[in-house]
């Protein structure tokens, strides 16, 4: 699993051959999607009574450490869950890119 994490998707995409604007666009979109995937998974695992607290924490963009600590505390093996999601994403991405070489 670790191998997939360490594989370079930017290189596989050939992103460095494109304009910087395009690079940023793709990277930003990917980051936003990954965040959304993880956030959705997290919300589904959180008991409803904790959702209010999460929303409160996330009302302030500065609360970065607090949000992370909160999720780590409330969701079992949160770090592993996140890694799993990213690995699945990268795996699927590499499969598709390999198929169109």
């Amino acid at each position: 699993m670790n191998d997939i994490m360490q594989k370079d998707l930017i290189e596989a995409l050939g992103l460095e051959e494109l304009s910087r604007e395009k690079q940023v666009e793709v990277i930003e979109k990917t980051g936003a999607l990954l965040f959304k995937l993880i956030l959705q998974e997290s919300i589904q695992r959180l008991p409803e009574e904790h959702l209010d607290e999460l929303e409160t924490l996330m009302s302030d963009p500065q609360n970065t450490d607090k949000v992370y600590s909160f999720l780590k505390e409330k969701i079992e093996n949160f770090d592993s869950l996140v890694e799993e999601i990213i690995i699945d994403f990268k795996k699927e991405s590499f499969e598709v890119l390999d198929s169109i070489k």
Partner: protein
């Protein structure tokens, strides 16, 4: 007789001889009855002669017609080749100055010539289909039952294709058939003939040809044959002429061969018709993908409903192989099948999309990125969106809030972390901590990521700042850092994963040197350099550790704070004896210029250091706080100003909506009415453009309602103007409740109609009609 036996006599000659004999017999006979008999026979022979002569004439005419068609085919192909050569010459600029207008005209001529060629080849195939008549005498045509049977038992299309000896034969055959059903698409005979011709001319790739009926293999075989040296006995390829007298022997007349094959042409862009066909195929595959996705989502949601709530650990264990993968065994077969079908559809669509894009001349990187965008990012997004649709309002609210929180993080940091995830630089353990920390911007992670993103800093060590004692070298170093960071703007980030410890090392060295420095002045200077570098690097979040040690109690409490434990030695320099050159001192006093960036409010910068204590007291700082890029990104300064028309957002309005959604702008509006209003406002700008203006931004049809899937549209007229977008946003958010209600009601009417009439284009007139009829 001998002479007759030696010389082959045609049926007509033979009949004439017969008539001549009857005449001689009549003249030589004296018996009237015998004469009458011969006369009747002569009459009959004359009629038969007439039939034969007519037949010969008609055959001659047919042959002439065949020859004429052959010649015309020959000429037409030559004409097309000529145009193609001219296009090459214009494009290369070798002989003539490159002229797009002339090239377009030549393309049109080629299209016209190809149409004419197709018509000729059709005529030719009609000729080929006529029943063979060896002797011109119908009475000699075999009609025995077994022969009839053999005549009626036509070879299959695959067999006929297999028998073709040349590309030209094959094309002629294809023009004569109705069509062939490919794996997914039905091809008419004409289309196939065109495709084969294009492949033979090197314009299209062999993969364009369907495998059905062995067609692709045959084309491949014939192309390989053609490349072999010509065989002198290969008479089939030579044009036949009537004077050769081989008309009777020729069973399958051949079209005239092409001139000697020119060197392979560079691939030409497909004609508009071909592009449209390609896109049609692509859209068909996308339709299949949509169906497969919908089916998978249904099955998955059903499964999720029925699944027992297992702990995360047991699921993870199963996936890690630490226990039997009960999870997998429990997956219903229908879900597995739906998933497999969905995966297959995605790969099929990806392959076809890649192919189409390559035909359109895109580079491999461009192809990769577009496929990645449509097949990975888009599909993931759609699946997750479908899942969230069944959530409670509370859950949806939490999701919206969370996404908003993410978009409000420092953009530089967001990109830095995403880069690290994509490249895998963050996968090393002991680097920053868990990846999850990064995605939620935990400070230790972000600090490390700043090091990765600013990787070129690996060359910049503590020593360089202090050991280079000339002002020029120091200022050069600092200037190069500033230039680099100046390049890290909203739209211009140089992203290179590199030594992840570089910044840590620098920080440690600086910190150690500071701690070990004896004089206040030195500490001050180091602090200044740290501040300056932090400002220059432009990322307060990314350098929290610098902020940390500068603001930490042990230092902030004053000069002479105790040296922290376990600090590594400063490598390569003697921190105790740093000799600060006065020129360097002067250089360090220079406040970095960041005129473009707005000044950030104090409480959001590292100016919290001001609160930490006296170390800044003696530091001559500029009156204004050090200008730094905003911590919170301007939500109206979008990452790019283009939109791409995709099958899922296949009109400009949807593409604008999708763009604003991705950029997080729409989520700032709380109601769908407001969101619709914003998209409308943006769309209206382009709706008012003239056809020429629309063409200049990428809408080649000149009609805002007709955009081609796969095309890129430049919307900088709005998306390149953050202030304008902001004013539109504010206008939308200030909508009265009544206006919001109206817009939402209108949206419902339109979406109901669109669902019921998926093939009807929603024009402004139609929308107006629907809304009026609904009384809105």
């Amino acid at each position: 007789m001998k002479e007759n036996m030696e010389k082959e006599v045609s049926p007509i000659e033979s009949k004439r001889e017969e008539i001549k004999r009857y005449v001689e017999d009549i003249e030589s006979s004296t018996d009237p009855e015998v004469q009458e008999d011969f006369y009747q026979k002569m009459k009959k022979a004359e009629e038969e002669l007439k039939v034969l002569e007519n037949k010969e004439l008609s055959e001659k005419q047919e042959q002439e017609q065949e020859q004429e068609i052959k010649d015309k085919i020959w000429v037409k192909r030559g004409e097309i080749k000529q145009y193609e050569d001219q296009i090459r010459e214009y494009e290369s600029g070798d002989k003539f100055k490159s002229s797009p207008k002339v090239i377009d005209e030549l393309h049109e001529k080629i299209n016209k010539a190809e149409d004419e060629l197709r018509a000729l080849e059709k005529d030719w195939s009609r000729i080929l289909q006529k029943p063979e008549d060896e002797g011109g005498d119908e009475e000699t045509t075999p009609t025995k039952p077994e022969d009839t049977e053999s005549i009626e038992k036509e070879p299959s299309l695959a067999e006929r294709i297999k028998e073709m000896k040349t590309i030209e034969h094959l094309i002629t055959l294809l023009n004569s058939i109705e069509g062939i059903q490919g794996e997914k698409v039905y091809f008419t005979g004409e289309d196939l003939a065109q495709l084969v011709q294009k492949v033979a001319d090197g314009v299209l790739h062999l993969n364009y040809i369907t495998r059905s009926e062995g067609l692709r293999d045959k084309v491949k075989e014939l192309l390989e044959e053609r490349e072999k040296p010509e065989d002198g006995e290969n008479d089939e390829e030579k044009p036949t002429k009537p004077e050769d007298g081989n008309g009777d022997e020729e069973k399958t007349p051949t079209p005239p061969p092409l001139p000697v094959a020119p060197p392979p042409l560079p691939p030409m862009p497909p004609s508009p018709e071909e592009t449209e066909k390609l896109r049609e195929n692509l859209n068909a595959l996308y339709g299949e993908l949509e169906d497969a996705r919908a089916k998978f989502i249904r099955e998955h949601q059903e499964y999720l409903k029925n699944r027992k709530k297992e702990s995360l650990i047991s699921r993870l264990k199963a996936k890690l192989g630490m226990q039997k993968a009960e999870e997998e065994e429990e997956l219903p077969e229908s879900l597995n099948e739906a998933r497999a079908e969905y995966d297959r559809s995605k790969l099929d669509y990806a392959a076809e999309l890649a192919h189409v894009l390559k035909q359109e001349g895109r580079t491999q990187s461009e192809v990769n990125v577009q496929v990645y965008d449509e097949v990975i990012l888009n599909e993931y997004g759609l699946r997750k969106q479908a899942e969230a649709e069944s959530w409670t309002p509370k859950e949806k609210g939490a999701l919206r809030r969370g996404l908003d929180w993410y978009m409000r993080q420092n953009r530089f940091t967001r990109v830095a972390i995403s880069t690290g995830l994509l490249t895998g630089a963050v996968a090393t353990t002991g680097g920053f901590g868990a990846v999850a920390g990064g995605l939620f911007f935990a400070s230790n992670y972000v600090r490390g990521m700043a090091a990765v993103t600013l990787g070129h800093l690996s060359g910049l060590g503590f020593d360089k700042v202090f050991k280079d004692k000339t002002k020029e070298k120091l200022t050069d170093t600092i200037q190069s850092e500033r230039d680099y960071v100046a390049g890290i703007t909203e739209n211009n980030i140089d992203i290179r994963p590199s030594d992840i410890d570089s910044l840590h090392q620098f920080e440690e060295q600086l910190k150690n040197a500071y701690d070990k420095a004896e004089s206040d002045k030195r500490k001050r200077l180091m602090a200044k350099s740290a501040v300056m570098l932090a400002a220059t690097l432009g990322s307060s979040a990314g350098l929290k550790s610098l902020e940390g040690f500068l603001a930490s109690g042990e230092i902030a409490s004053g000069i002479g704070a105790e040296t922290p434990q376990d600090t590594p030695e400063v490598s390569g320099s003697d921190a105790e004896n740093i000799d600060i050159n006065p020129e360097i001192d002067e250089a360090l006093n220079v406040v970095p210029e960041t005129p473009e960036t707005p000044v950030v409010p104090v409480d959001q910068t590292i100016d919290t250091l001001d609160e930490s204590g006296g170390m800044y007291a003696d530091v001559p700082v500029a009156e204004e706080p050090v200008a730094m890029p905003e911590v919170i990104a301007d939500p109206f300064a979008l990452s790019s100003t283009d939109v791409v028309i995709t099958p899922s957002a296949n009109n400009l309005w949807s593409a604008i909506q999708s763009k604003l959604q991705t950029e997080g702008v729409l989520s700032q509006l709380s109601t769908s009415g407001q969101q619709t209003e914003l998209v409308d406002n943006v769309y209206n700008v382009f709706e008012k453009m003239t056809p020429e203006q629309l063409k200049s931004i990428g809408i080649t049809s000149g009609d805002v309602q007709r955009v081609m899937t796969g095309s890129t549209i430049d919307l900088s007229e709005v998306f390149g103007k953050p202030e304008l977008l902001k004013s539109m946003f504010e206008g939308s958010s200030e909508l009265s409740q009544q206006a919001i209600t109206n817009i939402e009601a209108q949206g419902k009417v339109i979406s109901t109609f669109a669902s019921a009439n998926p093939d009807t284009m929603l024009t402004p007139d139609l929308i107006k009609k629907l809304v009026t009829e609904a009384g809105l």
